[in-house]
Amino acid sequence: MANGNGAGHRSGLDEPTQQRASTSFRIDPDRAALVLVARSNAGPITFGATGIEGSISAHVTAGEVATTVPPVARLEVPVQRLTCGNGLYDAELLRRVDARLFPRAVVELRDASPVGATGRYHVEGVLTFHGVTRSMAGTVAVTFPVPGRMVIEGEQVLDMRHFEITPPAVAMLRIYPEVRVQLHLEADVSN
């Protein structure tokens, strides 16, 4: 969870203090989306959800995230909101991931380092999904399209077997265990 240091207190600080203070951002659930693209022997199946909640605390200077002090973030994804538009497939997915027992997937950021000056960052953290916690690493793009708003985009391939999830199968329809996960987050400075 964000530590809340300096949330909304950047104005009025002298420059060195301002650079040291972290800024807290709160994710806008209506502007945050998670998309899972699974492959099956009958073609790709796309599941998606909005309503992601959480916060980010980071040192931001000159439109970039300073990583000398690692940013802190925590995201909660409402698993039960995942849908592909087909009620039968949705029910099968939610049954496989035990959505009633584990209604939220949680991502906690542990470390970040810039990839050159590209606006991209190598991030490390842990993902808890289906009651299983695993370390994850990947790359995300961070931009600040307007003052006070941070946009994060990333993509990662997960193997559902690593989270003790049996790949869904309906009759002869077979879904493969590797799933491409795409994330889009928009977060605003919280007061």
Partner: protein, 108 residues
């Protein structure tokens, strides 16, 4: 089904005799586990999968998978499809048939 198995066993037994029964079984196992049979099963499974997908599309009014760069738009489309709302929502074919039959009954 039992009669068919009995007849097949009878025919095989009559032709090969008891001494060749194990050989027949081994040959059958080899054929079943051969790459050709595995390929055939894989092809059949894929074919049935596509057929089920088509059938699902016919029943549920399924559409092509959403694509694009804007994840928010993709999720909105999926939710609209689930809820049957939005400009792009289509009426499932079976619903069209039901509506047509109801209109016909109403006209008589």
């Amino acid at each position: 089904m039992g009669l068919v198995e009995f007849a097949a066993g009878w025919a095989l037994g009559a032709k090969a005799g008891e001494s060749h029964f194990d050989e027949v079984v081994e040959t059958a196992k080899t054929v079943i586990h051969s790459p050709e049979v595995a390929d055939l099963l894989h092809a059949l499974r894929s074919h049935v999968g596509y057929s089920l997908k088509e059938l699902g599309g016919l029943v549920m009014g399924d559409e092509a998978e959403p694509a694009g760069d804007d994840l928010l738009d993709i999720v909105r489309l999926l939710v609209q499809r689930r809820d049957g709302t939005g400009a792009g929502a289509s009426i499932p074919p079976l619903q069209v048939v039901r509506d047509a039959l109801r209109d016909k009954r109403g006209a008589v």
